[in-house]
């Protein structure tokens, strides 16, 4: 299981990144994240839905109800322009963090300390 604070920090960018591939719905997002993280990120409904609603309120994503063939309703989320900008901003941040870790963990780096 990923650390709580890491989950909190990564939820929004992950949701935005997933939705960049097309519109999706709550359960699908949970499944996708689980797949991509090899089961490490196991989101609960209680965590995801409030985040989705907040993002919708912030205008990063929009929601629409879709009636399925079997008569059920499903709420689909799609990314907005604002959401895309947000995604780019967080992408740059995560890349920076990633680059830092890569450099540190590749083994050939020599840092002078203390």
């Amino acid at each position: 299981m990923a650390h709580k604070s890491l989950v909190a920090a990564s939820t929004k960018p992950l949701v935005l990144s997933i939705l960049s591939h097309g519109k999706s719905y709550g359960y699908q997002i949970i499944k996708k994240v689980e797949e991509l993280s090899n089961g490490e990120l196991n989101w609960t409904d209680a965590m995801l839905y409030p985040v989705l609603h907040r993002m919708e309120k912030e205008g990063l994503i929009v929601a629409e109800w879709v009636v399925l063939d079997n008569g059920r309703k499903r709420k689909y989320y799609a990314i907005t322009e604002l959401g895309k900008q947000e995604r780019e901003a967080s992408k740059a941040q995560w890349m920076n963090v990633n680059a830092a870790f890569n450099a540190l963990w590749n083994g050939d780096l020599n840092i002078e300390l203390g």
């Binding site: 719905y25 359960y27 409904d45 059920r72 499903r74 709420k75």
Partner: protein, 899 residues
């Protein structure tokens, strides 16, 4: 267990979610979709429908409240820390829902709630204040242990058609009762020696009328807490004194003063008295608020036990059986055996005597007998106040009933909808009752604020000495809130039943006809309120008129021109009195001055005298006896109808004066100067004949509202402190006179303080009780008028609401504002007239009854009734005009477009 149905399970699950606070329909549907997605997934994995549902639903539902809270944070306009359903329950949310609705209703109709609360709280406040006052007045002397077994022995003497009830009784009565009647277990006697006595310690001296000479067995009858000293021997020795705590503090600045000596001056030359005990103050709530007790033996020795002429206040403590009836039955024999002979000899041969026992706790509110040590309270006034108190509460309840039924129109819809939704009558009654109770309790709380605010004024008005802390005791608070609760219950009962009975089908289509019956009730109640307010007003005007009459009645002398000086009370200064008086008479502002032993501000009781009529036969006559110095009639501004004053140049003259009434009463008008007064010795034998030297034109002493007593006037020209100086002066030069007098005083009596008093002030103070009563009554009348005004406003606002369309149509058809005003105020004029038809006779009866207490009183004139009517009309118009103008000036379109 039946077959598992997935669809049912899911819809059950959804319903559960919908009931969860904080989840809105959109959220629930989204979650439902989510659940289906999970289930579909699990079914694909090969799980059974039941397992799939269980796993999926558990996953979603396990964190349901967390989810709801999170969603609340997202959607709330002002996300506070915790969602409402997570907060600890507030007072408001804990209230029963009927209360909540009541509160909301109040919030919605603020003016209605305000008027109701104002009316209720004002009436609760004043009822409570009255109650406190009545309680205070009727619980005198109850703090004494065995108070129910203590009685005061009083008697009344009837002779020659006069009845003289006496508060004090011959010295031997107490000891005889104790010695011969097993019913009496203890007795004690007290007397006041002289009007005021002085106790002095070093520089500090206290002049007080609260110093009594007391039997040594005082503490056997009256319980008192001793701070220092012993009860048993406190009053046994002559020249000893028991002080109250306050007295000791004032004199010594401490209380452990047993063994100290004080200088005591009563009527005898000053003596040294030893403090033997200090007791806790006897308090204000006693008919005997004594501050110091001098031992009986200081004044009286054993011989006094047989002195039937010397009277004292006598109290007895009955034995445990407390058999007062048996004791009273034996009194005729007691009188026959011990008293009658003496009284026949001294007073009159046909004298009749009654010995009575007055319960200690009843004394303060009983009638005042002759020689009462202190003025009493007035039971009749208390009864009047209590009656008014009940009326106040009823009026407040009436206002509530009025306003609650007046808003019925508005509530009718609510009632209808509730009925349609399945409420039954009982529930509705309960709902409306809870509303009125809530309102009344709230008003009770508000009234506490009023009480706190008004208490100082009320204390000033009534002389009630109560601290706020004492007033707001737990039991009093309980009382206030139970008044509130009772009021809420009583006031709420009728409107609740009335509202709950409204027909639901009429309710929705609000029809006006339905309120017809209620409107008669409302009008009747308003008439009732008017009646109370007007009755009180009539009464108050009569009381005011009577007080005015008493103060301005022709007394036979000009009271405004008389000023009194107290002579100094040391012997050396007395030598200067004659010289001082001479110089006073020479002052340009002063007409006359004399020494006077009689007090013009007190009434003198009639006693029996033996006289010789002008034709020479001996007659028993009843005369009030006073003593004055030379020139009394001239000084007060009276004159002689016959004869002259005492002869200043004949010091041996044996002369008396009588007044006009005495002369006429005994038919001596022909040659009154031939009548003689017969002096008797202690055995009743005639020793000397005194000539009537003059007949004085009548003048009224003491209270002004009864007849002038037949009077005999003796000469008393001694230089003693009891003899005051009366100065007849030019009232327009008051300041100049007083300055001149004080200068003269300083010359002659440099060691004594100059004190003067206007006789008029002292006479006016005789009516203090009536004035307190007048003030109380006026205050309460203002309150009743206020409540009536609220009632009128309530009714007028209802009428204008009902007549909104009528007014609008009239206006559209060209009616003027004035005519609409008339339309609305006419009904109040009718109500007012109806009220006066009732209030007039009641007011007349009450005032007449009150006036009958006064031997002389004003006549009830029509003007009082007319004045009251005009005042009532005035405040009605004030209340009506504003509302009526508002209605008359409203845009008719708005009213007509409604519905």
């Amino acid at each position: 267990m039946g077959i598992f149905d997935l669809n049912n399970a899911v819809s059950d699950w959804t319903r559960q979610l919908k009931n969860h606070q904080g989840l809105e329909p959109g959220h629930v549907e989204e979650l439902e979709g989510n659940l289906w997605d999970r289930i579909d997934d699990l079914l694909e994995e090969g799980k059974s429908e039941k397992d799939a549902f269980d796993i999926a639903s558990q996953k979603v539902l396990s964190s349901i409240s967390e989810l709801a809270n999170e969603l609340y944070q997202v959607h709330a306009k002002k996300p506070s820390k915790t969602p409402p359903w997570e907060r600890t329950a507030s007072f408001f949310s804990k209230m029963p829902s009927s209360m909540k609705i009541a509160f909301r209703h109040m919030k919605k109709r603020k003016a209605y709630a305000f008027m109701n609360i104002l009316g209720l709280s004002v009436s609760i406040c004043f009822s409570f204040l009255i109650w406190i006052y009545v309680q205070d007045q009727s619980s005198y002397d109850q703090h004494y242990e065995n108070a129910d077994r203590i009685y005061r022995v009083i008697f009344d003497v009837k002779h020659d058609g006069v009845k003289v009830p006496q508060a004090d009784i011959g010295q031997p009565v107490g000891p005889l009762l104790k010695a011969y009647y097993p019913e009496v277990s203890e007795k004690t006697r007290l007397r006041r020696i002289g009007a005021t006595n002085t106790l002095a310690y070093g520089e500090v001296s206290i002049k007080s009328s609260d110093i009594f000479v007391t039997d040594e067995d005082f503490f056997k009858v009256f319980s008192a807490k001793l701070i220092h000293g012993k009860k048993e021997n406190a009053l046994t020795e002559p020249n000893t004194v028991v002080l109250t705590e306050t007295m000791a503090q004032t004199l010594f600045g401490r209380t452990n003063v047993v063994g100290e000596f004080l200088t005591y001056s009563g009527v005898m030359p000053p003596i040294q008295v030893k403090v033997t005990a200090v007791i806790k103050d006897l308090g204000n709530q006693t008919h005997l608020p004594m501050k110091a007790l001098i031992s009986y033996s200081t004044y009286f020795d054993a011989r006094e036990l047989n002195n039937w002429l010397r009277k004292s206040y006598t109290y007895v403590l009955l034995s445990e059986a407390n058999d007062i009836a048996s004791l009273e039955n034996q009194m005729p024999l007691f009188i026959e055996h011990y008293m009658i002979e003496e009284l026949r000899r001294r007073v009159s041969p046909d004298v009749k005597v009654n010995l009575l026992f007055q319960k200690l706790t009843d004394i303060y509110l009983a009638d005042e007998y002759m020689g009462e040590p202190y003025p009493h309270g007035n039971k009749a006034n208390l009864n009047i106040l209590v009656t008014i108190m009940f009326f106040l509460l009823i009026m407040a309840a009436i206002n509530y009933v009025n306003m609650a039924t007046a808003t019925a129109l508005e509530r009718a819809k609510e009632v209808s909808i509730r009925k349609v939704l399945g409420s039954n009558k009982k529930e509705l009654v309960f709902k409306f009752m809870s509303e009125s109770i809530l309102l009344a309790l709230f008003a009770a709380a508000v009234s506490l604020v009023f009480v706190a605010f008004l208490l100082p004024y009320f204390g000033e008005l009534t002389g009630l000495n109560t601290q706020l802390g004492v007033i707001f005791s737990l039991s009093n608070l309980k009382l206030i809130f139970s008044i509130g609760l009772t009021l809420g219950l009583l006031a709420g009962l009728y409107p609740s039943v009335y509202l709950a009975r409204l027909e639901s089908k009429n309710g929705i289509k609000s029809s006006l006809k339905r309120t017809k019956r209620g409107s008669w009730l409302r009008k009747g109640l308003i008439v009732f309120e008017y009646t109370i307010a007007a009755t009180l007003m009539i009464w108050i005007l009569v009381v005011g008129k009577q007080i005015d009459f008493m103060k301005t009645r022709e007394l036979g002398y000009d009271k405004s021109r008389l000023l009194e000086l107290k002579l100094p009370d040391n012997q050396s200064a007395m030598a200067q009195v004659a010289a001082f008086l001479q110089e006073v008479e020479m002052l340009p502002q002063v007409d006359d001055a004399l020494k006077n032993a009689a007090d013009l501000a007190s009434g003198y009781g009639v006693g029996s005298h033996l006289m010789k009529s002008p034709t020479g036969e001996q007659v028993n006559v009843n005369l009030a006896a006073i003593s004055t110095g030379y020139g009394f009639a001239e000084t007060i501004g009276s004159n002689y109808l016959h004869g002259r004053d005492f002869n200043k140049n004949d010091l041996e003259e044996k002369g008396v004066l009588i007044n006009e009434t005495a002369m006429n009463m005994y038919g001596w008008g022909q040659n009154p100067l031939k009548a003689k007064w017969l002096q008797r010795d202690r055995q009743g034998e005639v020793t000397e004949e005194w000539n009537v030297v003059g007949v004085v034109r009548d003048f009224k002493m003491g209270i002004s509202y009864d007849d002038v007593s037949p009077m005999i006037i003796f000469l008393d020209d001694r230089n003693i402190p009891e003899n005051r100086v009366i100065v007849n002066f030019d009232r327009s030069q008051l300041t100049a006179t007083v300055t001149a007098l004080s200068n003269l005083w300083a010359e002659h009596f440099p060691d004594n303080i100059f004190q003067y008093e206007l006789l008029e002030d002292r006479l006016d103070r005789l009516y203090a009780k009536e004035e307190i009563f007048q003030k109380l009554l006026s205050t309460l009348n203002i309150v009743t008028v206020l409540i009536t005004i609220l009632g009128v406003i309530g009714l007028i606002s209802f009428t204008t609401e009902v007549k909104r369309k009528e007014i609008a149509i009239r206006k559209v058809n060209g009616a003027q504002v004035e005519s609409i005003l008339r339309l609305l105020s006419n009904q109040f004029l009718i109500l007012l007239i109806a009220a006066f038809i009732v209030a007039g006779p009641i007011g007349y009866f009450l005032s007449k009854n009150w006036l009958n207490e006064y031997a002389m009183h004003v006549d009830l004139s029509y003007s009082i009734f007319v004045l009251t009517f005009i005042i009532c009309l005035g405040f009605t118009l004030l209340a009506v005009v504003y509302q009526a103008l508002k209605a008359a000036n409203a845009n008719p379109v708005l009213a007509l477009r409604d519905e």
